[in-house]
């Protein structure tokens, strides 16, 4: 059985509600999955695979480490030999200790930044590295370039990111596997009526400069100025929370904007079901799956043309696209959608259909399993005792 270690920053990640689902679906397809996470959070449901903590101060206890001591020793010896100074060698051993005793066929790094932080892991575990290039990685192109060199295979979630990887000079094979969301769980409520009263808008995901939340709040203020009764829920957290609250306060709509932190899956689903439209005011690619979750729940999306959003949302069919950094255009598109209940319903139905057809967890799991299978078989084909190590430099 192929054993894949998924190396990530935090697990479970509240900003990616579908992550556990697709990893579980990959495991159900006969691939052994375990997660190495820098931060391990409390899962809200049972997780059918092992989750291990990486990083300083995180060890698995003397007994556990003693079990794999032999393997760990060989790898620690490598660190001692290769490190520029004994001090750095000791630091590296302390850091990598939790992972040293493990043996996997493939390491899947969840982002270029994670690979940059754990760049010795492929060499220590003698496993090929697959790296997901994320939109957030693009903020630091040097990190991206070094990660693209260090990896054996690159994974992207959109054609936009594929183009970015090529722009950055990636010479490694690249697979495009769109994000997936649990379309059976995130679905419209049975026999639900469109919400009445105030128009309800929602956004969810990380509040970073990439998601442009300030522009969304400005657009909502412009709608209120036009006389529309609008309420806006921002479900997420991040550096730009301050900007959201300040903009809402300065534009006099603090009573209409609710900023809550990440919502549990059920609460998020219920909130999405009660909304008229989803807003994504991105100025750059951000890796969020909010627009997909909304579409799976039958909610039309009004978003900007940044990053992969035009691939997630079909303009005029499942939502509308606006110019990025232009709150006036975003407000115009929101007004057009909200002002036409017939169109709102039709877009919602088409959004649901498209999400199921293109962005379901099972489709992602299927494609990921085939990528994992192809990479690990390439490793076996190199020969016993050898690995398909490319670009370790």
């Amino acid at each position: 059985m192929t054993r894949v270690a998924f190396v990530t920053e935090r697990f479970p990640d509240p900003a990616r509600p579908g992550q556990v689902d697709w990893l579980a679906a990959v495991q159900a397809r006969g691939i052994g999955v375990e997660v190495f996470a820098e931060q391990v959070g409390e899962p809200d449901r049972p997780i059918p695979f092992a989750v291990r903590a990486l990083g300083r101060g995180r060890t698995w206890g003397a007994r556990e480490n003693a079990v794999g001591l032999g393997r760990a020793w060989a790898r620690a010896h490598y660190l001692l030999r290769e490190a520029p100074s004994p001090k750095q060698a000791v630091r590296a051993i302390a850091r990598y200790l939790p992972a040293l005793r493990h043996s996997v066929d493939l390491l899947h790094f969840d982002s270029a930044h994670v690979l940059a932080r754990w760049r010795l892991l492929p060499k220590l575990l003698e496993a090929p590295a697959l790296v997901t290039l994320r939109g957030a990685d693009l903020a630091d192109e040097d990190v991206c370039r070094s990660a693209l060199c260090a990896a054996d295979h690159v994974l992207v979630a959109s054609r936009h990111l594929l183009a970015e990887a090529q722009r950055l000079g990636c010479a490694k094979p690249i697979s495009v596997v769109p994000e997936g969301v649990g379309t059976d769980f995130f679905c419209p409520a049975a026999g639900s009526e469109p919400p009445s009263g105030a128009y309800r808008l929602i956004s969810c995901g990380e509040l970073t400069w990439q998601t442009g939340p300030e522009f969304a709040v400005q657009a909502v203020a412009l709608l209120v100025k036009r006389g529309l009764n609008v309420e806006y829920c921002v479900a997420g957290d991040g550096d730009m929370r301050e900007a959201v609250l300040y903009t809402a306060a300065e534009l006099g709509i603090l009573n209409r904007v609710r900023v809550c932190s990440y919502l549990a899956a059920e609460v998020l689903r219920d909130s999405l079901r009660q909304c008229n439209a989803y807003v994504a005011a991105n100025v750059a690619e951000d890796d969020g799956v909010g627009p997909l979750l909304a579409q799976a729940c039958g909610v039309p999306v009004v978003c900007t043309d940044a990053g992969a959003l035009p691939e997630m949302v079909e303009d005029g069919v499942t939502g509308l696209l606006a110019k990025r950094r232009d709150a006036w255009d975003l407000a115009e598109k929101l007004a057009a959608v909200l002002g036409n209940p017939g169109q709102l319903t039709a877009m919602g139905l088409r959004a649901r259909w498209r999400a199921r057809a293109l962005f379901s967890t099972s489709q992602r799991a299927e494609r990921m399993a085939s990528v994992y299978g192809a990479l690990s078989s390439a490793r076996v084909a190199v020969g016993a005792g050898q690995t398909a190590r490319i670009g370790y430099g």
Binding site: E214, E242, A243, V283
Partner: protein, 410 residues
């Protein structure tokens, strides 16, 4: 207090030196020159291109990240010293700590924070920012010599983020001997925060570095546009509240209208990646330069070789960058946010535009770009306005009054 007594002012800051807060250094330097003993107490070391060697009395407060036994080892002798040397202060501190903390852990944490300030003998303790005052709020209840300065984000944006911060800042503002607000707008926000008037609050505007005010009047110098382009400049921390992304939209619009221009953005900060993305995205690579941080001389040079000070801010008190631009004879195009209008008079020293409205920004920039005479007129009026209100002499006088108010006479 004898008339010959030199006032000792303890200034509590976050990082020292720091990339931003140049106006604070200007103030401390001027105070030191005028005979006040300035003692800087910083929470941690920072980096800055600004020269801070003039400030010799800098100490760093004990780290809050030490393990509890180590912190106890530091706290106990300090507490014993206060008990023996200042018994009244000790008794008051114990009372305040018991009343305003929940549990032993919080009591120890707060005692560890304020103890180093109780040991120092200063006539007044100046919390250079509202967030410092909120952190050391209990100190303001123990000793009656605290001056709290509100400089912008500490009163504008931070109170929205956390209830605890809001409550702590409120406590500090109500108990401080004096509150220095850099503009009327900040004072209004402070009063809104405490839910009433603040009799101890005084508006003391910031002062421009004397180096910008000396020498020949730069507004009289005819600024020749380089190759027919109008040169915009912005200085300050790269932060979302500076609204530079909106400014870039305005610049794109301006270029689309056929106005040739260049924009140099001087400063560093957490928003750089966003701005680099906007530059790429809007195709402004040839006209916008993110030049990074510069020292005072470098900033002066940048300002002297520009035609317009562009400050598309969305959240600000009174901007030091804008005042520096005005001091060097630059007309200003700025977002009408916070206390900006207290520094820039619309139509006289610059043009104010609604924050985030990039079309209005482009209109204002176009007006000034096409009219060199108007630029020169506004530049001269701007320098005049700075000389009338924002010089070190004005600030020095106001700070002296503030020190007298808390008992640290000059």
């Amino acid at each position: 207090m004898p008339a010959s007594h030199r006032a000792r002012l303890m200034v509590v800051v976050g990082a020292f030196p720091s990339l931003s807060e140049t106006f604070l250094y200007t103030m401390l330097k001027d105070l030191q020159c005028s005979g006040v003993q300035v003692l800087v107490r910083a929470r941690h070391r920072g980096t800055s291109p600004h020269q801070t060697a003039w400030c010799r009395n800098v100490r760093y407060l004990p780290s809050e990240e030490l393990a509890l036994p180590l912190r106890m080892a530091i706290l106990l002798p300090v507490a014993a010293w206060v008990m023996l040397r200042r018994p009244a202060t000790f008794v008051r501190a114990v009372r305040v700590l018991r009343r305003h903390t929940c549990g032993l852990r919080e009591l120890v944490d707060q005692a560890y924070l304020i103890a180093p300030l109780l040991v120092a003998s200063a006539d007044a303790v100046y919390f250079a920012m509202g967030n410092m005052a909120a952190k050391y709020a209990l100190y303001t209840m123990i000793r009656p010599n605290a001056i709290v300065a509100l400089i912008g984000s500490d009163a504008h944006t931070h109170p929205l983020l956390s209830d605890t911060y809001r409550e702590r800042l409120k406590l500090a503002l109500l108990n401080a001997a004096a509150v220095r607000c850099v503009c009327e707008d900040t004072k209004r926000r402070a009063e809104r925060l405490v839910g009433g008037s603040l009799p101890n609050a005084v508006v003391v505007p910031i002062a421009v570095d004397a180096a910008h005010l000396s020498g020949p009047d730069p507004s009289r110098v005819v600024r020749r546009p380089a190759q027919g382009e109008v040169r915009l400049v912005s200085t300050g921390r790269l932060h979302w509240c500076k609204g530079l992304e909106h400014g870039m939209m305005a610049l794109r619009e301006l270029l689309n209208r056929g106005v040739a221009c260049r924009w140099r953005i001087v400063g560093e900060g957490p928003y750089r990646a966003a701005l680099e993305c906007a530059v790429r995205d809007l195709g402004l690579g040839d006209v916008v330069s993110l030049v990074g941080a510069r020292d005072a001389a470098g900033i002066r040079e940048e300002l002297l070789s520009a035609d317009i000070m562009f400050h598309p801010t969305v959240a600000d008190a009174i901007s030091n960058s804008v005042l520096e631009g005005m001091a060097l004879g630059l007309p200003v195009v700025a977002g009408d946010a916070g206390g900006i209008r207290e520094g820039v008079r619309h139509g006289e020293t610059g043009l104010l535009i609604p924050p985030r409205d990039w079309r209005a920004m482009a209109d204002a920039l176009e007006v000034l770009a096409r009219n060199p005479d108007l630029r020169a007129r506004m530049g001269a009026a701007g320098r005049e306005a700075v000389l009338c209100r924002f010089t070190p002499r004005h600030q020095d006088k106001a700070i002296a009054a503030l020190l007298a108010m808390v008992g640290g006479t000059r």
